[in-house]
Structures are given as structure tokens and as C-alpha cells.
């Protein structure tokens, strides 16, 4: 972990063209939150980069990342200035992961807490099995997004692909654009004041300045499949 210029003195620069991935991860995992930010150069699609972080450090990744970037994140703020591969911020517990480009499948899968922002689009299954985290996607999300999502919120400024929210539990979804189709047991729901408030808050946290609430619709569980019933056969 040798600091190389350019940049202010308190930035630690790591270069994956030279440094070993495990070493970089370990240094980030052990980093002192009181120190300065970290910049990771030449990620070149590396998998499992900046995963398992445990403290409130700032990590800026300059380029595209592979699978599971910032996986299981706790407290850290990770920015990817590029695209992110499968499972970015999977099982995040807290903190913030910000993708400047697009994200692949299963973005934010099973995440329990924290905020994931994707400035571009995400592929299929965004927020699959979500367990409490918040996700804001400024572009579109692919099919089967929020499949089996249990808790947490997804905001989509663009369109959503097929089978949105299939088998969703208590998670909430806000979409401004078109929804190709809703999955089993997912229905459109009334936007009440409490929902406007939470949507406004999420948009603000995701830096969506000037985006109004107009056009947003809310989706969630019809709670019809919570118990096994023979009559539900057609839904499965």
C-alpha cells in the first residue's frame, strides 16, 4: 500500500495493476476510519474488490469492477467510477455504495441495510431477496427485480423489466417509468403521504436533485401467497 501521487497528501492510492487483490482488501478491511480516503486504480474488473469492509472509510474505485464489489459492506462508503459486475453490494449491512455507471445482475442482493445508488441501469434481479437496504436506480432495472424481496425499498427513475416484485414480501417499490409486468402477488398500491415522504427522502439521499414525485407509482405485496392454498395454484 504505497501512496503514489497524484492527489492530496491524505489520499491513499492503491493500484491493482501492481498490488495484490487480497492485500488491498485486507488493508481496506483494517483501515482506520479516521484516516483519509482511499483511491483504487486499475480495478480491471477484479472480483470481490473492497468486500467485507467494516468501518466508515471512503473508497473510490476508478474503473470497472467484477462480481461482488463491496459485498457485505458495513459502514464504508464505496464509489465505483465505472460499471459494476454481478452482485454489487450484495448482503450490504450498512454504509453506502455508489455506482456511477451500470450494474449487472443481482445488484444489492439480500442487502440488509445501507444505501445502493446506481446512476445507470441494472440488469436482472436487482434487489433480489432484499432484507432491508435501500436501492435507488436512476436508469432502468431488468426483469425479476425485487424477486422475493423481504424488506427495504427500491426506487427506479426509469423503467422496470418483466415480473417486477415477484413473490415480494414487505419491501416497497417506487417506479417512475413503465413496468413491463408485475410478478406473482405484486400489485400497484396507493401512494399515501408517508410514502411520498419516504420517496422524497430516498431521492434526496441519492442526489436526485430536481426530481419531483410526479409519475412515481408504488408497488408491493398483495399478501395473497403468504399461506399455502390450493386455490393459488394458478399464481405459481
Amino acid at each position: 500500500m504505497t501512496a503514489v501521487a497524484p492527489g492530496p497528501a491524505n489520499i491513499t492510492v492503491m493500484d491493482l495493476a501492481r498490488d495484490d487483490l487480497s492485500q488491498v482488501n485486507q488493508d481496506l478491511q483494517k483501515a482506520d476510519p479516521r484516516g483519509g480516503p482511499f483511491r483504487v486504480l486499475n480495478p480491471r474488473g477484479a472480483h470481490a474488490l473492497a468486500c467485507g469492509l467494516t468501518s466508515g472509510i471512503d473508497v473510490e474505485i476508478e474503473g470497472h469492477t467484477g462480481y461482488y464489489c463491496a459485498g457485505m459492506n458495513q459502514a464504508a462508503r464505496v464509489t465505483v467510477s465505472g460499471n459494476a459486475g454481478v452482485g454489487v453490494a450484495e448482503n450490504m449491512m450498512s454504509g453506502e455504495v455508489w455506482v456511477k455507471g451500470d450494474a449487472s445482475q443481482s445488484a444489492g442482493a439480500t442487502a440488509h441495510g445501507g444505501l445502493l445508488v446506481v446512476e445507470g441501469n441494472t440488469a436482472a434481479r436487482c434487489g433480489i431477496s432484499l432484507k432491508g437496504a435501500d436501492i435507488v436506480v436512476k436508469g432502468d432495472v431488468g426483469h425479476m427485480s425485487m424477486f422475493l424481496a423481504q424488506a427495504g425499498r427500491l426506487v427506479v427513475l426509469g423503467d422496470a423489466g418483466d415480473s417486477l416484485g415477484d413473490s415480494i414480501y414487505e419491501a416497497r417499490i417506487y417506479v417512475r417509468g413503465k413496468v413491463a409486468s408485475l410478478g406473482a402477488d405484486c400489485i400497484e398500491k396507493e401512494m399515501r403521504e408517508e410514502h411520498r415522504t419516504e420517496l422524497r427522502d430516498l431521492l434526496e439521499r441519492a442526489g436526485c436533485d430536481g426530481v419531483g414525485l410526479d409519475g412515481f407509482r408504488r408497488y408491493g405485496s398483495a399478501r395473497q401467497l403468504y399461506h399455502f392454498k390450493a386455490e393459488n395454484l394458478d399464481s405459481y
Binding site: Y68, A109, T110, I128, A151
Partner: protein
């Protein structure tokens, strides 16, 4: 039924059990969900015998000459492999399917004899972590309660691809058992019928799995052994692919394997028997020169020291037990016969683990019923049972002239049926014939 009237003949195809099931289906419109494992007759380790010592092999003295039983799991990549004193581990059974007392008892019993226990679909409880000296943390498709702190607290990580009772199926926990605590641990509404995912949410296939394993290792500093558990579907290919993906340990669970709640048609009709699965898994490991380098743990229907010894002789490094461990704790205890009768069952037949009204207080979340199980006494019974299994394995190993139970080998075995000979790849007793392998 036909005792007093020899003119009545029960159908073999439509026996009373079948008729009962058709009537039940017609009345409820629902398939049967139950616990336990496959109940029909299957080829098992009972179809094999040990040859014992003779002129060509001399035995070791029982009780006097040492016979080692220890095994180390995770020697391939893990910085901190797991060292077990006996080659028998406790399989993953979730808190939720089991009471907190039962989980504690499993931890106590296993720890008393120096072996590990395993979490399950529903996360890690502190009772369990506290009472298990070696705890394997399951990483399942549902990821209920999955938390990096628990991952780091574990002694090993088991990526669950499937289990023997339902290769290709996900977990199930019916509303009666989703109490407030269980619901909270799983982030689900209380009282719903929960069906866990059957596929992992962020990987499919061996190439993705390789990367997933890398992530888990990065997060745990390459310390923990990583197991991959598969139901016995295609054990030859599954074992090879698990090794390719970077597993330290492969766990293969045969179709007899127990479950807390699964469709009966799944339990009885999907997967292959443990006997056939071990042989295929070992064949894969040997072909890629990974036998004993990646350890093989075998489960599904293990009941006795003889079963354990035969699994080891066929090439497993250890076995895992679920149902037998629950019985040792007190499951299906005749002491509760009156109560089993009240819920339409009988000691010895009780399989409704999904229902949550287990008279023995094991497969339940009911506080009154759970209280019936004393974790200290039940844990001690489990430890006793594990000791008996170990002594039996040693007895059989010594009889075959082995100073380590892992020196048992296929050459020590013969098969009693043509089927078992073909599946296990050992000669039919009294012949040198292994079906499928020349003359």
C-alpha cells in the same frame, strides 16, 4: 387387516398407505409436506458387510491397540482447518425448525466429544455459538439472517447447494413455527408459510461459485474451511465441480437424508441413495487426484457405527448425522406415546416436524413444549450416542486390522446384493464380481 379373513387381499399397488394419501389429497387439495427422510426401502450400507481379519490380514487388539479416529477438514486452502476428534459431525438443522433448546443440546453433545455442529436456514443463534466449540455456518440460497459478523464468528462455512431430502428444492417453514423471534431473524412477517429460495440469488453455476468462494475467503481472511453441500443428484459431476470451484470440503447428502419440512414426493422420489452417492463422489475425487486433499463428508441415513465405518471404507473422511442426532436427544421417544396418539401419530412414526407440535419439544417453537427438552441431559445423551458410534467404528476398523479408522478401504467390504455390489463398486460376497467391471 386380513388376519381373520383370508379372502381379503390388500393391493400391492394400492396399499393402505397409498389409499390414505389419495383420500387426504382429495380432501385437502394440498400436497403432503412432512419432516424426517425417505421412508421406503432403499439400498443401504446394510447391504454391505466387512470381511474382517483372517490368515491374510491380522486384526488389532480391541481396547488395547490404538485406533485413531481424528480427522482434519479444510487442509486445502483454509489457514485454520477444523480438527475433529471423531469422524462424525452434526448436520445443519435450522433454529426455527428446531427449538433453541434442541440447538443448544446439539452444541453441547457435539462439543463434549470434540466434533462440530452446523447452523441452518435461519441464521446463527448465540445459544448455538456459545455451546458449540466448533460451529459450521451455513450459507444458503435464502440468506436468512446472513451476516458478515456471524460469518467471521464461524469456524467453517458451508455453502448449501442442496440437501439429500430435496436436491433442487428450497427450505420450508410453515406458519406455526414462524414465531416472533424466528420471523425477526429471517426478516419475515410472523406466522406466514415460508418457502426459501432454491437457488442462490447472486450466483449460478460453477464459474460464478468460484468467484463467490473467493469473496467469502476475502471476507474471512482465508481462515475458514469452505464446504460445499450438495444433495446426491449427480455426485460425480457435482463433486468435481465443487472441487474446481475451490471447495476445501465436499458434503454429499444422500436421498435418505432428513428434513424439517419438504413435499413427500420430493423426499421419496428425488436424488439417489447415499450408498450410490459415496462411491461416485470418491470416484470423482480419485480421478482428479484430490481424494484426501479435499475432504468428503457423507450424510443421509447414517444410524450406527457400522454405517459410519462403511462410509469411511468407501472413501469418505467423515459423516454427518441429522435424524439420528435428534433421536438421541429424544425425538420419537415412546415415553410420549399418549401424546403422539393425540396428534394422530405414534412414537417411531412421528414425522410431522413441519407442524410445530412435537411432543418431545425438539422440532417446535412452542415455549411449553420446548421446555420439555433439558439441553444438558439431551446433550449428554447425544454425546453418549456419538461415543458409541465411535467405539463401533473402532471395533470394526481393528477387526479389519486398521490402526486408523480412515485406513478402512473398499477391499474390506463385500456386498450382499447385486444392486449394492453395482452401486458401491465392491464384489458380491463369495465372488470377485463387481457388476459393470468386467468378469
Amino acid at each position: 387387516m386380513t388376519d381373520d379373513n383370508w379372502g381379503l387381499r390388500e393391493s400391492y399397488s394400492f396399499d393402505r398407505h397409498t389409499i390414505h394419501e389419495i383420500r387426504r389429497a382429495a380432501n385437502t387439495g394440498l400436497y403432503r409436506i412432512r419432516g424426517w427422510g425417505a421412508k421406503r426401502k432403499l439400498p443401504t450400507f446394510d447391504d454391505l458387510v466387512f470381511l474382517g481379519a483372517s490368515v491374510s490380514r491380522y486384526p488389532l487388539e480391541g481396547y488395547r491397540e490404538a485406533c485413531d479416529t481424528g480427522v482434519t477438514l479444510g487442509t486445502r486452502y483454509a489457514k485454520k482447518p477444523i480438527e475433529l476428534k471423531i469422524p462424525i459431525t452434526i448436520a445443519g438443522m435450522s433454529f426455527g425448525s428446531l427449538s433453541a433448546q434442541a440447538k443448544e443440546a446439539l452444541g453441547r453433545g457435539a462439543s463434549e466429544v470434540g466434533t462440530s455442529t452446523t447452523t441452518g436456514d435461519g441464521g446463527m443463534t448465540q445459544e448455538e455459538r456459545g455451546h458449540s466449540t466448533q460451529l459450521v455456518y451455513q450459507y444458503l440460497p435464502s440468506r436468512y439472517g446472513m451476516n458478515p459478523n456471524d460469518l467471521r464468528q464461524a469456524d467453517a462455512i458451508e455453502i448449501v447447494v442442496g440437501q439429500g431430502a430435496k436436491p433442487g428444492g428450497g427450505g420450508m417453514l410453515l406458519g406455526q413455527k414462524i414465531t416472533e423471534r424466528v420471523a425477526e431473524m429471517r426478516t419475515l412477517p410472523e406466522g406466514i408459510d415460508q418457502r426459501s429460495a432454491c437457488r442462490h440469488p447472486d450466483w449460478t453455476g460453477p464459474d460464478d461459485l468460484t468467484i463467490k468462494i473467493r469473496e467469502l475467503r476475502e471476507i474471512t481472511n482465508w481462515e475458514k474451511p469452505i464446504y460445499i453441500k450438495c444433495g446426491a443428484a449427480r455426485p460425480y459431476y457435482d463433486t468435481m465441480l465443487a472441487v474446481k470451484a475451490g471447495a476445501d470440503v465436499v458434503v454429499i447428502d444422500g436421498m435418505q437424508g432428513g428434513t424439517a419440512a419438504t413435499q413427500d414426493c420430493f423426499i421419496e422420489h428425488v436424488g439417489i441413495p447415499t450408498l450410490a452417492a459415496v462411491r461416485e463422489a470418491v470416484r470423482a475425487l480419485k480421478e482428479i487426484d484430490m481424494h484426501r486433499k479435499v475432504q468428503l463428508v457423507v450424510g443421509g441415513g447414517i444410524r450406527s457405527g457400522a454405517d459410519v465405518a462403511k462410509a469411511l471404507a468407501m472413501g469418505a473422511d467423515a459423516v454427518s448425522i441429522g435424524t439420528a442426532a435428534l433421536i438421541a436427544l429424544g425425538d420419537n421417544d415412546p415415553h410420549y406415546e399418549d401424546e403422539y396418539r393425540k396428534i394422530g401419530s405414534s412414537a417411531g412414526c412421528y414425522e410431522d416436524f413441519q407442524a410445530g407440535n412435537d411432543p418431545a419439544g425438539i422440532t417446535t417453537q412452542d415455549p411449553e413444549l420446548s421446555k420439555r427438552l433439558d439441553p444438558v441431559k439431551a446433550g449428554h445423551r447425544l454425546a453418549n450416542y456419538l461415543r458409541v458410534l465411535t467405539l463401533e467404528v473402532q471395533t470394526l476398523a481393528r477387526a479389519n486390522g486398521k490402526s486408523d479408522v480412515h485406513n478402512l478401504e473398499p477391499e474390506d467390504l463385500a456386498a450382499l446384493t447385486v444392486e449394492a455390489a453395482a452401486m458401491a463398486g465392491v464384489p458380491l460376497a463369495g465372488t470377485s464380481w463387481i457388476p459393470g467391471q468386467g468378469v
